[in-house]
């Protein structure tokens, strides 16, 4: 648990997203909006992605970040937000799943 009373600016996804924006980069922000069962990251967690596929933060324990990054690049291109759902691999249309057995819903939107 991160108990720091001040923001860890070098690792904070929303601070990094703001920095990327100031540098003129195109940015997408992914947010965990719902979880069921045992999910590794709580509701509200962020992954931020730039158009080159660089990313910071996490929406899971590393299980689905790859898939979120590729979706995010499409979202940056189209400007249209998407809702992604990940669960146990065989129960969903997605290729990747959460090994913990939980399910998560991730909202991916473009910054600006």
């Amino acid at each position: 648990m991160d108990n720091s009373i001040y923001l860890d600016e070098a690792r904070d996804p929303l601070i990094i997203a703001e920095g990327w924006m100031k540098d003129g980069k195109d940015v997408a922000i992914a947010t965990v909006v719902e979880t069921w069962g045992s999910a590794p990251r709580p509701v509200g967690s962020h992954l931020v992605i730039d158009a080159d596929g660089n990313f910071h933060g996490s929406v899971s324990g590393g299980c689905v970040e790859g898939a979120v990054v590729s979706e995010a690049i499409d979202v940056i291109d189209s400007g249209k937000a998407r809702m992604l759902e990940f669960g146990v691999a065989d129960e969903t249309a997605w290729q990747v799943g959460l090994s913990c057995g939980g399910r998560i819903k991730v909202y991916v939107e473009r910054l600006g």
Binding site: M1, N3, S4, I5, Y6, L7, L14, I15, A17, E18, M21, I29, T31, V33, E34, P42, V43, G44, A81, M83, Y107, E109, R110, L111, G112
Partner: protein, 234 residues
């Protein structure tokens, strides 16, 4: 996400102020709500609850689905006095999720030897609080018994609207303290916010037990923020 909302949100987070980003999941529009902003209806109630609990989540209101991402500063505890009670309080508060700092200008008390792994300031509260001001997500417990050390910090905690202000001492000691705080310019309403004698009334006797009582009272104050005001208005 609206770039301006992101910039504002980050500024609030850097300043240790609570804010909630409200996103309409239907059309993607978002807006930032600061603590104290008034929002009407069901959405307003959900926002008020999210400020209190710090929990993020989706909410249905006005026929739409909103996602509320609650960004609350990490609550923390500042203790004036590197005394026996603080030695017990330091590890407990850390475990409970309330990082703790200790301020005591008496360098014989404030030693790393007595307080391993604790943020310790062997300085006057006046000097430390100038650098690191108190805020409404900070609790302050004054436990030195010494007006020279406690009083300034107590007044500063009341002015900064700390979510918890507690002061060690009997009712008699506190009555004298009230006189001094009035002389320092504190109002009667402010002084009424001080928990004195300090700690939940669990009959605590030893330093360790008093530390439990202080920590429990701090947690209660944090988790019931805003509820007292609502009860009074109803």
């Amino acid at each position: 996400m609206d770039p301006y909302a992101l910039k504002t949100l980050n500024a609030e987070r850097r300043a240790r102020r609570a804010a909630i980003l409200v996103t309409d999941l239907g059309d993607g529009r978002d807006r930032l709500v600061r603590e104290g902003d008034s929002v009407a209806g069901e959405l307003g109630q959900a926002i008020a609850k999210a400020f209190r609990t710090g929990n993020s989540g989706s909410v249905e209101a006005e026929g739409r689905t909103f996602f509320l991402n609650a960004h609350l500063p990490q609550p923390r505890l500042v203790v004036i006095g590197a005394v026996h009670i603080s030695q017990a309080l330091a590890p407990m508060a850390k475990i409970a999720g309330y990082p703790l700092e200790i301020i005591d200008p008496r360098s014989a008390f404030a030693t790393p030897d007595r307080f391993p792994d604790v943020a310790l300031h062997a300085e006057w509260p006046e000097d430390v609080l100038k650098r690191q001001p108190l805020d409404s997500y900070t609790a302050l417990a004054a436990v030195t018994h010494d007006p020279k050390i406690d009083d300034f910090a107590l007044k500063a905690a009341l002015d900064a609207n700390c979510f918890y202000v507690g002061a060690l001492g009997s009712r008699k000691t506190h009555a004298k303290r009230v006189e001094r705080l009035l002389a320092l310019g504190a109002t009667a309403d402010q002084i009424a916010r001080i928990h004195a004698p300090i700690g939940l009334d669990i009959g605590a006797a030893s330093p360790g037990e008093i530390a439990v009582a202080i920590l429990a009272q701090t947690i209660h104050a944090f988790r019931s923020r805003g509820l007292e005001a609502k009860g009074a208005a109803a």
